[in-house]
């Protein structure tokens, strides 16, 4: 066996050694006896799906979360009970996905912010010089006088790296650093990472993207369900093997599926493109259709255009070009309410500020989207009895556990909150349902409930577009599986032909379609 299932401390004195790390949140074991180590001068890949325990492990390392058990040794010193500040002082830097930068300041100002060596009266010239020399040394190409708000994502990331380097970091943790970068930017970043490692510093590279792991990492550790799933050197393994380690072997939920014949096309999306204010394409000519009684499951790493796609479909953002039709009727120019009336339901990812109003009652939240339509409106007035009777029937129908229709939503558990959203959107028997990460943050029971409801809608002839980054869930639910990467739909295959490792590769955004994948005709 080329990869060990747990851990094999071949290196006698690693720079970082985390052993037996455990962390529980309630009933969830986020980290269960995890071992992880980093050798000086190496780039170590940390792989795993969402919820596999990567971020918890890194938060523990950085002192943001206290572990329940386990030990950490860094440069021969024990680290325990430390704060982020202690971690920084020890020489660990964490570069989050959300940068800690001030947009309205220059690069140099951001570097100087809170940095003692910049002086009480700022030595801006010297700092600018240091930024120039450091960024030259590592090939970062940063202008100290540039305004951070004007910089593209990739440059901001470099700024975070320069901040870490100037403050003397020896171990850099990069959290999904390539997820928002274009391919040339990725190549450049990987080169920078190699140089940093060549300077006898180390990097922990958190990612989903297997190709990149092989390009820069010497070693890779895979986590799954909060446990070590494997650890190996990149030379001794293959992408397929890593993909299998990441996602596990068991697929398919034991959910009843009725075989549906080939129904009529309900939702037709044709060459939808969305550009941001700078002209960058967030969505690039997306074309697909969903049939009656079908679930089209779109896989993708967060931030590849999913949010934009669902908002364009639901009517919250206007597409720059393209066409959206429902049963042949053009909906491109219609607003949220008109699309709702046409039979389009939408479950957004964010419960706290979008799909629910926590301070309102269950009855009101169930009427959130059609309060101005009969029967919820009668003449000029809201028809409270209708709100109430609808709530009573939905509460029993969908098994929402609550004190009654008058209870405010913020008093409910996450699972029951999502049941309200599902009850509202599916309860109206829509022709098309768009669901975006509908099981996000739910416990297994609630997850199962939501999935079952969506399948039931499909079985009764509804068309469903389901977007998620959870491949396992998508493979269980989808009739056809598609992949969205960098704002483009890169392939759709029927569920029988879906191969998790290959879809994982596609999600990683190489852009090349392996031969095994059948390309949807629409995509050309």
């Amino acid at each position: 066996m080329r990869c060990s299932e747990s851990q094999d401390p071949a290196d006698p004195s690693p720079m970082l050694q985390m052993q037996g790390i455990c962390k529980r949140y309630g009933a969830v074991r986020a980290n269960e006896n995890i071992n992880f180590s980093v050798t000086r001068g190496q780039i170590v890949g940390l792989l795993g799906e969402n919820g596999s325990g990567k971020s918890t492990l890194m938060k523990i390392l950085f002192g943001m979360v206290r572990p329940d058990g386990g030990t950490i040794r860094f440069k021969g010193q024990a680290l325990s009970g430390h704060t982020p500040r202690d971690a920084i002082r020890a020489g660990i830097a964490m570069i989050h996905q959300h940068f800690m930068l001030v947009d309205a300041m220059t690069v140099a100002e951001n570097v100087m912010l809170g940095w003692k060596k910049a002086g009480a009266w700022l030595h801006d010239r010297q700092v600018a010089e240091q930024i120039r020399s450091t960024s030259q040394e590592y090939g970062l190409d940063l202008d100290p006088d540039a305004m951070v708000g004007d910089l593209p994502f990739g440059k901001r990331q470099r700024l975070e790296i320069v901040k870490a380097l100037l403050r003397g970091a020896e171990l850099l943790v990069l959290d999904e650093p390539t997820s928002n970068l274009s391919p040339p930017e990725v190549t450049a970043l990987l080169a920078v990472m190699r140089r940093i490692a060549g300077d006898s510093r180390s990097i922990i590279f958190i990612t989903h993207k297997l190709a990149e792991v092989f390009r820069v990492c010497q070693e890779v550790t895979v986590l799954r369900d909060g446990k070590n799933a494997g650890r190996c050197s990149t030379e001794g393994t293959t992408r397929a093997e890593l993909a299998r380690m990441m996602v596990g072997r068991e697929f398919g939920l034991a959910t009843p599926r009725v075989e549906m014949g080939s129904g009529a096309e309900v939702l037709e999306v044709t060459t939808i493109t969305l550009k941001d204010s700078s002209g960058l394409k967030l969505l690039d000519e997306i074309t697909f259709s969903v049939r009656e009684g079908e679930i089209l499951a779109l896989a993708g790493v967060d931030g590849n255009g999913q949010t934009e796609l669902v908002e364009v479909l639901a009517g919250l953002q206007a597409a720059s070009s393209g066409r959206i039709a429902l049963h042949g009727r053009d909906l491109t120019k219609t607003d949220v309410t008109q699309r709702l009336r046409a039979g389009l339901a939408y479950i957004p990812v964010d419960r706290a500020t979008t799909s629910l109003v926590p301070g309102m009652t269950i009855a009101e939240n169930l009427g959130l989207r059609d309060f101005a339509e009969p029967p919820l409106r009668r003449g000029l007035r809201l028809n409270h009895p209708a709100f109430y009777s609808r709530a009573v029937s939905r509460i029993s129908e969908f098994g929402i556990r609550a004190d009654g229709p008058g209870a405010t939503v913020d008093t409910l558990s996450g699972g029951n909150q999502q049941k309200i959203v599902v009850a509202r959107e599916i309860g109206r028997k829509p022709r098309v349902l768009i669901a975006f990460q509908a099981t996000w943050g739910l416990d297994p029971g609630a997850t199962r409930f939501v999935i079952d409801q969506i399948l039931a809608l499909r079985n009764s002839g509804g068309a469903v577009l389901y977007l998620s980054s959870d491949l396992e869930e998508l493979l269980g639910i989808g009739d056809r599986i598609g992949v969205i990467a960098n704002g483009r739909l890169v392939g759709i295959v029927p569920r029988e032909k879906a191969n998790p490792a290959e879809i994982g590769l596609l999600m990683a955004g190489g852009g090349l379609l392996p031969a095994a994948l059948e390309i949807n005709e629409d995509l050309g």
């Binding site: 309410t337 301070g359 309060f371 007035r381 809201l382």
Partner: protein, 361 residues
């Protein structure tokens, strides 16, 4: 924009209507009472500093407010504009539109009502009074719409827009009184006395209590119904809780912002009309002085609940009426009322913020 306050949801205890827990309502009342008591305590220290006995002063205040039919009448008339303007502000704040332009809206409402009263004096009273009041409402709404449009079209924060237009509105009163509408040779900037047909009739024979208080109660009931029983009220509450949720529910931000500003402007305009038609029977320079702040204070003291605006407005009216008596009898300056009001507001804001933190947990 920051959230203003925890928004208690739901009106009455009826099972069909979304309800708020009695605990929350009680806690709100309790915090308001504590805030008022603290403000009075601190103001008491100020009374001591000026060498007077605060208990004697407060007793005079109490008698001045409730001591006789006349004093109660006076206080009720004083409360009327606060309730009218305050309930409009409460609706605005519910939608997170920080309208502090009541003062200017009251001023132009008063000007419009006065203009109508002076220019078509021969109409029968049953037509003239409603006409002048409606004129005030329209003028107030138009004035408020300026700030609303500046926010929607030009991104000018409504706080600055309404604040600055207050000064213009108040100066407008002076302008017309020194021009076309002034009373020649009066020695004070005021208009001629309105014809009797334009006077707001007293509710009872021989009483000074005018019909404005009925309008105020009506406005409170109407705003309560609007907020809890109409689609627009639902939109207002949605917009107040989250822009994203409002968009998801298909609510137009611009239309809703404009609606609440027009409503609040109209109510303030009515307040201005009632003040000139029912209290002074003429337009007087500075008649709207301080009303704008009181409207905001009343709305917040009521925790943005239309029904609670009624007691909150009465509290402010009686407080000011009593303060005048306190000044007359004990020699404690009535400007102390501003101190009490300002402190009450600060304490109420802090109490609301603490409560909202408790709710969030």
């Amino acid at each position: 924009m920051p959230s203003l306050a925890p928004l208690p949801s739901g009106p009455g205890p009826s099972g069909q209507v979304p309800t708020t827990s009695r605990g929350a309502a009680f806690r709100g009342l309790f915090s308001a009472a504590i805030a008022v008591l603290l403000a009075f305590a601190i103001a008491g220290i100020l009374i001591l500093v000026s060498g007077k006995n605060p208990f004697v002063a407060y007793w005079a205040l109490l008698r001045g407010a409730f001591g006789s039919t006349d004093s109660v009448t006076f206080a009720l008339n004083k409360s009327t504009p606060y309730i009218l303007a305050g309930v409009g502000v409460a609706i605005c704040f519910r939608a997170r539109v920080i309208n502090i332009g009541s003062e200017g809206q009251i001023a132009v409402g008063g000007v419009a009502a006065s203009w109508i009263a002076l220019n078509v004096p021969d109409l029968p009273s049953a037509v003239l009074v409603p006409l002048a009041t409606i004129g005030g409402a329209l003028a107030g709404a138009a004035w408020a719409s300026i700030a609303a449009l500046m926010r929607l079209k030009r991104g000018v924060h409504e706080v600055l827009g309404t604040l600055l237009s207050n000064f213009v509105g108040v100066l407008l009163v002076s302008e017309v009184l020194h021009g076309s509408m002034g009373e020649p040779g009066a020695g004070f900037p005021q208009s001629p006395l309105f014809p009797q047909g334009a006077w707001l009739q007293p509710l009872f024979e021989g009483s000074d209590l005018h019909a404005g208080i009925l309008l105020a109660v009506l406005a409170v009931v109407a705003c309560h119904l609007l907020l809890w029983h109409t689609p627009l009220g639902f939109r207002i509450r949605l917009l107040g809780s989250s822009d994203r949720a409002a968009a998801y529910a298909g609510v137009s931000v611009a239309r809703t912002v404009l609606s609440v500003m027009l409503l609040a402007g109209a109510l303030s305009g009515i307040a201005g009309a009632v003040e000139v038609l029912g209290v002074h029977f003429r337009l007087i320079q500075g008649f709207s002085q301080g009303f704008g702040f009181n409207a905001v204070a009343v709305a917040l003291l009521a925790a943005l609940n239309p029904v609670a605006v009624l007691p909150a407005g009465l509290f402010f009216g009686f407080l000011e009426a009593g303060a005048l008596a306190m000044q007359r009898e004990v020699g404690v300056q009535s400007s102390l009322v501003y101190v009490i009001q300002g402190l009450t507001m600060v304490f109420v804001l802090c109490a609301l913020a603490i409560n909202s933190k408790q709710q969030r947990v």
